[in-house]
């Protein structure tokens, strides 16, 4: 009997341990000075001038030795909101802040997050006039090492920030070669632990604050031929809120999905048209990888690709949209498009296929290794090479430092961003 009880207790423990942690812990963002009327909106120029690699002189327990600080923006209606993100290596962390001007100082308020667990907390930073704010407000700010010092505190969970932070400007962000930091499923596995669903509009709007310069999104067709964003081939509770519906997504019309199905965070399954519209007009993303998850004619997504490339150009956006071809079936459907050799595309198959369709990008999976020789050959032919889907921190560092790829697709875009920007 005792053995049975022990077995049962063990089983109960295992069942409890399988419970998935989900959700983001609320942080303490009540900072009276930041929220006071004396603190006014900060123009994008000083925010952009803050971009750089900073030495962490205090707060290394959380942030490690270096942080890469980068601005990004999102457009809501007629308002453009700028954020300052900091990417660091420790526990795949990031810090997203808003900036304000208070007198001759700069205030930064935000929250940090680890992607290896659900730990999060608040951050309050300030840059005093003597610590670089005067320079940042100047007409042409040029920052030298130590020229900007951010001082402040951080807290964990809902605690009031009290642990010291000191970030000191070390150098410019690396920008040695064109490189795309691509967020898997518009934001990656981060969406498992954040408030945004993968392949959702809100995830796209926030992707660049997680370090992404571009997104990979999964395209399927509804029964009535509307391209929508959805990864799996069936409705399931990993991706949608419970509504009783089961079965393949292409059994439903777009109207049925729109009215009856909500993504896990409550948003609706977006049409590809909505998604591209968001990227062009509401984000600073510069690359979109349309991963074709369906069999059949690619005409519907080709038409949208062409339309939104034109719209982006008209809006003055340097945006690339490529049709991703992961399978032989998708490749054959692509070849059926008129003028396919001139359509921007990304091919995950062989180098012969890449040549055959004149793909702009070759994208092998990361498990095939660095392949520097093959990548060099691809580049010599005027194409680019991306690698997918790289999530292991050691390999992200290796591919970033020793590889020749022009882009990395990852569920942890902040870590790819860190590894790229801190290079010298």
């Amino acid at each position: 009997m005792r053995t049975r009880i022990l077995w049962s207790a063990g089983l109960t423990f295992l069942l409890a341990a399988c419970q998935k942690e989900k959700g983001i812990i609320p942080v303490n963002d009540n900072w009276p000075l930041f929220d006071s009327p004396q603190a006014t909106a900060l123009a994008p120029k000083p925010l952009r001038a803050m971009e750089g690699v900073y030495q962490v002189e205090e707060g290394t327990d959380l942030f490690g030795g270096l942080v890469a600080v980068k601005t990004n923006y999102v457009v809501t209606g007629t308002d453009t909101t700028y954020h300052l993100s900091a990417f660091y290596e420790n526990d795949i962390g990031w810090l997203i802040m808003d900036g304000k001007r208070s007198g001759d100082s700069i205030l930064l308020k935000g929250s940090w997050r680890k992607m290896v667990n659900t730990e999060t907390g608040s951050v309050r930073l300030s840059i005093a006039a003597g610590n670089g704010a005067t320079q940042l407000f100047g007409p042409n700010p040029v920052i030298s090492p130590g020229g900007v010092v951010m001082l402040g505190q951080y807290g964990t969970g809902t605690e009031v920030p009290s642990k010291g932070i000191r970030f000191s400007y070390a150098r410019k962000l690396f920008n040695g070669h064109a490189f795309e930091i691509l967020a898997h499923r518009a934001g990656g596995r981060t969406s498992d632990l954040l408030q945004y669903s993968e392949n959702s509009i809100e995830m796209m709007r926030n992707a660049s604050s997680f370090g992404a310069t571009g997104i990979e999104i999964d395209v399927r067709l509804t029964r009535d031929g509307v391209p929508v964003l959805y990864h799996d081939n069936t409705l399931n509770l990993r991706l949608i809120q419970k509504n009783g519906l089961v079965g393949p997504i292409d059994a439903f019309t777009y109207q049925q999905l729109y009215s009856q199905v909500r993504l896990i965070d409550g948003q609706r399954i977006p049409m590809l048209r909505e998604a591209l519209n968001t990227v062009v007009y509401e984000t600073d993303l510069r690359f979109v990888w349309l991963d074709t998850k369906f069999e059949g004619s690619l005409e519907p997504i080709r038409a949208l690709q062409a339309e939104f490339l034109q719209r982006a150009a008209a809006a003055g956006r340097q945006l690339r949209i490529v049709i991703g071809l992961p399978t032989e079936e998708a490749l054959n459907s692509f070849k059926a498009l008129p003028g396919f050799q001139n359509i921007p595309s990304l091919c995950e198959l062989s180098l012969e296929d890449v040549d055959d369709i004149n793909a702009n990008i070759w994208a092998p999976r990361w498990t095939e290794g660095l392949q520097n020789e093959a990548v060099a050959g691809v580049k010599a032919s005027g194409r680019q090479a991306f690698v997918w889907t790289l999530d292991v921190p050691e390999y992200i560092a290796q591919f970033s430092n020793e590889g020749m790829f022009d882009g990395i697709l990852s569920n942890y875009p902040s870590l790819v961003a860190y590894n790229y920007y801190v290079k010298q």
């Binding site: 009997m1 049975r4 049962s8 089983l11 109960t12 069942l15 409890a16 419970q19 069936t234 409705l235 399931n236 509770l237 809120q241 419970k242 509504n243 009783g244 519906l245 089961v246 079965g247 393949p248 059994a251 439903f252 019309t253 109207q255 049925q256 009215s259 009856q260 199905v261 909500r262 409550g266």
Partner: protein
């Protein structure tokens, strides 16, 4: 820990305890095949999912049916297969110009183990697949199916009416795990010992 896991753990404890009791009682049933066929009522347990932001009228009480064949050897542990129909729940929406109805049901395909606690009281547990079926009536009608792993636990009391027939009253818990559907059934079944050595 979710309620389902607590219930599962408690039932696991219970099954260990009762199997011990069955062995002590030394109940033997002979070597035979027995069929059970019947039906009853399904009470949906848990939260029936409906589209958020829309007012839905949910029906949790539905009909259910069981077809089960058990091999009853000269041991305490019996083995069998079970199928049937479990109508989990349905809902109607009449909100913001959207009028729709959705129903969720399943055909269980389960490998079932059984053990007598007394001569008339039997416990059943089963595991396998539930063939889920959803029917949506909105912008046309869509009937879709999918598979969901799941399990079943039941307690049944048998009233013999002849040497080969009996009336089985059964309380049964169905659980389709990935789709998070659960139902408590109260059923009456005809028992028929149709092959006996």
């Amino acid at each position: 820990m979710s309620n389902n896991k607590v219930i599962f753990s408690l039932l696991f404890f219970l099954s260990l305890a009762t199997s011990s009791r069955g062995q002590d009682a030394n109940v033997k049933s002979g070597n035979k095949l027995t069929a059970y066929i019947g039906g009853g009522i399904s009470f949906y347990q848990g939260t029936p999912g409906t589209p958020s932001g829309l007012e839905a009228t949910v029906t949790r009480i539905k009909p259910a049916a069981t077809l089960r064949v058990m091999w009853k050897p000269d041991f305490l542990l019996r083995l069998g297969l079970e199928s049937g129909l479990v109508q989990f729940y349905s809902y109607k929406i009449d909100d913001n110009g959207i009028k729709s109805s959705t129903s969720v049901e399943a055909v269980p395909l389960l490998l079932v183990f059984s053990m007598p606690v007394t001569r008339k009281l039997n416990l059943y547990s089963g595991t396998g697949y539930y063939v889920m079926r959803s029917v949506l009536i909105y912008d046309g009608k869509v009937t879709t199916t999918g598979l969901s792993l799941g399990w079943m636990l039941a307690a049944a009391y048998d009233f013999p009416i002849s040497s080969t027939l009996g009336i089985n009253t059964e309380i049964k818990w169905h659980k389709a795990v990935p789709t998070r559907d659960g139902s408590l059934n109260a059923q009456v079944q005809l028992r028929w010992d149709f092959l006996r050595k």
